[in-house]
């Protein structure tokens, strides 16, 4: 259930705002937002919106049993966009007072008016309006959990990793929590309040045997309260990272070449995210910067392939009920039976492309502009049994988890790196390999998928685009891609 006590202590929604002018005057976020929007319209904007955010986050980092970096952050401010005839401007403030909001609305509009003569394409912003207050319901809100208890949890994960094996030479454990309130309003009439609560635990391990050093990491990130850190996968994250790092001591570097590759659910998710998801973000259409521009409604892969982006999943780190423009979200089916059916929209891209907005605009914070982003992105399960899939592969690689990945949708290529993998020989799993990089072309990769497992798993991540980082998840079943270039030493 929702804890009222949490609101009283931290909420801006019913906050007491003090300023030199209005001493202890109770002003609703809604009123502040209205002032910003109206001052922008009065100054000449044809559309304006505002995000007011109040976020508290804590990070505890422990290395080999010692607290290295513990951090508590408070982010509070408002960002305003003013729009006129195809010209956008953005301004932000931390002065959450009527004067501050009026000032920021006016300066954004002044800037939009300066940009207006320079724009080439005129368009309008239109879309559905929403009015909602969505309170998050968690069992143990972060402020109700004593800091000592969080520290104990981190110590326990750290200890668990270090006691796993004497070859564990360095254990780094990071616990992070983020509690956020966001109020979005726009001149079309949208007024939406949402909350977010994201705990995460990361274990990053170095194992050593003589001169041989290997590293591995595991993380668990969900949407919910501190109670989610008591679940088994969070409670065992240190041990699981340590096991992989120790196992990697007997791994070998893979021989570079072209392989048939079975990706585990986590790596498959990274492939879907990097190799395809980014190219489905609709801002690439008016900018003409995605290789998928002419592919809407066309085949991009085999008919058994389905890819979705779903911000409505329960407890998922990439979920949100309304986006950062206040648009209600829904599941987006990007690829249906191999056809590119839907892309990820902001109000702007939906308006310009004449499509329905689907709530994919996200911003890192009030100080950033919302842009189309993924949420929880995954390949839908198919019908292969995983053991049969590996046996059927005969010769190739089974690749697992990931270190990182990136893509360039306008060039059409991508790259991602598995944390570890195994050689598949005569249909059986053999030698462990490490740091295996895969690259490919967005327009080719999906057609190389020839078998999709019936299992499913999502993994927590953080995705960067245009300098903005947002929490997300990606995953899917095991899947096989044929003839993929794999980098080796």
């Amino acid at each position: 259930m929702y804890h009222q006590g949490y609101t009283d202590r931290h909420s801006l929604f019913k906050a007491i705002i003090t300023s030199g002018v209005c001493d202890r005057l109770v002003i609703l976020m809604e009123d502040l937002a209205q002032i910003a929007v109206e001052s922008a319209l009065d100054a000449g904007a044809s559309f304006a919106d505002v995000r007011i955010e109040n976020t508290h986050s804590t990070v505890i980092e422990m290395v080999n049993g010692v607290t290295r970096r513990s951090m508590s952050a408070h982010l509070r401010g408002a960002g305003v966009r003013a729009f006129i005839d195809g010209a956008w401007a953005f301004a932000q403030t931390t002065e959450l007072t009527p004067e501050g909001m009026r000032g920021v609305g006016e300066s954004a509009t002044k800037l939009a008016l300066a940009v207006r003569p320079l724009v080439a394409e005129r368009f309008e912003i239109d879309g559905p309006t929403f009015r909602a207050k969505e309170f998050i319901s968690v069992r143990r809100p972060f402020p109700d959990v004593p800091m000592e208890e969080k520290m104990e949890f981190v110590k326990q994960i750290d200890m668990q990793a270090r006691e796993f094996d004497e070859r564990v030479s360095n254990a780094r454990t990071v616990y992070g929590e983020l509690w956020s309130e966001l109020y979005v309003a726009n001149s079309l009439g949208t007024s939406v309040y949402i909350e977010n609560s994201l705990p995460r635990i990361i274990s990053s391990i170095t194992a050593r045997e003589g001169a041989n050093r290997q590293r591995a990491y595991r993380s668990v990130g969900v949407k919910g309260g501190f109670e989610m850190m008591m679940e088994e996968d969070a409670q065992t994250v240190g041990e699981r990272a340590a096991r992989t790092a120790v196992d990697l001591l007997s791994s070998v570097a893979v021989r570079g070449g072209v392989y048939d590759v079975v990706m585990d659910p986590v790596l498959n998710g990274v492939m879907v995210h990097e190799a395809f998801g980014h190219a489905c973000e609709a801002d690439g259409w008016p900018a003409h910067t995605t290789v998928l521009e002419d592919k809407l409604g066309q085949s991009v892969g085999p008919e058994w392939l389905n890819i979705s982006d779903d911000p409505t999943l329960d407890c998922a780190r990439g979920s949100y009920p309304y986006d950062w423009e206040g648009t209600k979200t829904r599941k987006r089916i990007l690829v249906k039976d191999g056809i590119l059916t839907e892309i990820l929209h902001s109000l702007e891209t939906a308006s310009r492309l004449g499509m329905e907005s689907n709530g994919a605009a996200r911003a890192e914070s009030y100080a950033h502009v919302p842009i189309p982003r993924m949420s929880n992105t995954f390949m839908e399960p198919g019908d292969w049994d995983v053991d049969e899939l590996i046996e059927d592969t005969r010769h190739g690689l089974l690749l697992c988890r990931f270190n990182y990945g990136y893509t360039n949708p306008s060039m059409g290529h991508f790259m991602f790196q598995a944390q570890y993998g195994y050689v598949i020989k005569k249909g059986e799993i053999g030698q462990m390999v490490r740091d295996v990089s895969l690259s490919g072309l967005i327009l080719e990769v999906l057609s190389k998928i020839d078998a999709v497992g019936r299992d499913f798993e999502l993994d927590a991540g953080t995705c960067g685009k245009n300098g903005q980082w947002v929490p997300d998840m990606s995953g899917g079943p095991h899947a096989r891609a044929t003839e993929v270039p794999v980098g080796g030493m």
Binding site: T67, H74, F90, N170, M411, G412, D435, S437, G488
Partner: protein, 449 residues
């Protein structure tokens, strides 16, 4: 601005001491920035940001807590101090923590950190610079169907540090960035490229040059092919060297990573780990450079540090914590990208000492191999294994570029890469991670498919 910033930092430190901190440090910064963006060949948006905040570090019995707030109002800063103190109370004491740094005389004067023209740039002037850059890109692409994304970003700000041990330091600076990224489409393919410049002073920008070079680079990317898997030499252009050495070597000589045994250069201090052609310094005092600064993220006076001298590893990058732990001199590399980050360790201006010749001279001398213009990859910092996608690059033969490569990876361990540097060019440029010329690595595994 100086008085306001140091004043609020002072209030934070005194408040922390009154609340029970044995030592405290406040880092206060205030930045105004302006961005103008181009989509599909014309200007579309602009943004103004004012970002002021305070980061506070408190020490109680070798237990450390850090907090920040995105304002510099006194009441918010006091609340942040109290949060830092509560965090310190529940932390585990760090036996290796000695002390925050203490004041040690004056600060070096680093010239040309602040440029009035950059600081006072109007939105009209910024629009003019971006338009000139985009026009230059357009001009070279008149034979193609194109879409150009571009950006100009400028910022000016001041940052100050005060701590309980007498440190009180402040400086102001400006930075700017211009960027043009064209995408072109032909009957059967689409490709893109980009070019950029970073500078502290407005007069250093050459928007027409950036525009022309972005266009030349995207045209050069047309007609990408896969190649046969082979071992061959790799010429890394300056942007690629920035990624591979700036991130991949600059991160490996971080003393904290070395002390924890997480770096591939662990235990190598004083040893010949690289080719004698390679000399790398870190110089925070270099006049007008984008990462120059009179003091580091803990208020310690900046210095020029020899990292790699003709291949011999001479020093690591330290902050006060790692220097005290190793009982060596602090190199002043505590790094803070903002008031919101607790001090870590990072290079300032990582400078690769140039040799001779331009990029094409190196290609001619090497004969056959891969020229990698750009990669987004970093090595595994623990094992040193690097598997790098050639984001933009070309196959060359008989000293001449034949065609761009696609879906091609370079595989090599960083220690091998460092040892196999056979040539260093003279074509120095400033990238976001290093100031460097091109380098030639004798041999790496090339995989394409």
């Amino acid at each position: 601005m100086r008085e306001e910033i140091l004043g609020i930092a002072e209030i934070a430190v005194r408040h922390a001491e009154r609340q029970g901190a044995e030592q405290a440090e406040a880092f206060v910064a205030s930045t105004r920035s302006f961005t103008i963006e181009v989509e599909n060949n014309s200007i579309k948006s602009a943004a103004e940001r004012c970002d002021s905040g305070c980061g506070i570090r408190c020490v109680i019995d070798s237990r450390i807590g850090f907090a920040y707030v995105t304002t510099i109002r006194e009441e918010d800063v006091r609340a942040a101090v109290e949060r830092a103190i509560s965090l310190a109370h529940v932390s585990v004491p760090d036996p290796d923590f000695g002390s925050l740094p203490s004041a040690s005389g004056g600060y070096p004067v680093v010239e040309r950190l602040y440029d009035r023209a950059m600081a006072n740039l109007s939105s009209e002037e910024a629009a003019d610079i971006v338009t000139r850059m985009v026009d230059a890109t357009k001009e070279s692409l008149s034979d193609y169907k194109y879409a150009i994304e571009a950006q100009m970003r400028t910022s000016r700000g001041g940052a100050g540090i005060v701590n309980s041990l007498g440190i009180e330091a402040y400086y102001e600076g400006t930075t700017g960035y211009i960027y043009s990224a064209p995408t072109i489409k032909t009957e059967d393919e689409q490709t893109s490229s980009s070019e950029y410049e970073l500078a502290r002073a407005l007069r250093e920008f050459d928007p027409e040059k950036v525009g022309r070079e972005a266009a030349a680079a995207v045209i050069a990317n047309l007609g990408g092919r896969r190649i046969e898997n082979d071992k061959m030499p790799v010429v890394f252009g300056p942007i690629a060297v920035g990624s591979v050495l700036g991130g991949g070597f600059g991160g490996a000589v971080n003393a904290e990573e070395v002390q924890f045994g997480r770096s591939y250069v662990a235990d190598a201090l004083g040893q010949q780990i690289a080719s004698e052609h390679l000399t790398i310094v870190d110089d925070a005092l270099s006049p007008g450079e984008v990462s120059s600064r009179p003091f580091d993220g803990e208020g310690v006076p900046s210095r020029r540090i020899m990292l790699l001298e003709q291949g011999v590893l001479k020093s690591l990058l330290h902050n006060s914590y790692t220097a005290q732990k190793d009982q060596v001199e602090n190199t002043a590399h505590a790094s803070r990208s903002s008031y919101s980050s607790p001090p870590r360790i990072a290079p300032s201006n990582l400078i690769v000492q140039p040799g001779r010749g331009g990029l094409m001279d190196l290609v001619e001398e090497v004969g056959r191999g891969i020229l990698c213009r750009d990669t987004g990859d970093r090595p595994n910092m623990t094992t040193g294994d690097l598997s790098a996608l050639v984001m933009e690059g070309y196959y060359f033969e008989n000293g001449e570029i034949r065609y761009p490569v696609k879906s091609t990876l370079i595989g090599i361990n960083m220690l091998d890469l460092l040892r196999r540097v056979i040539l260093v060019g003279g074509d120095v440029r400033r990238t976001s991670e290093a100031i460097t010329p091109s380098i030639v690595v004798e041999q790496a595994q090339i995989t394409s498919g």
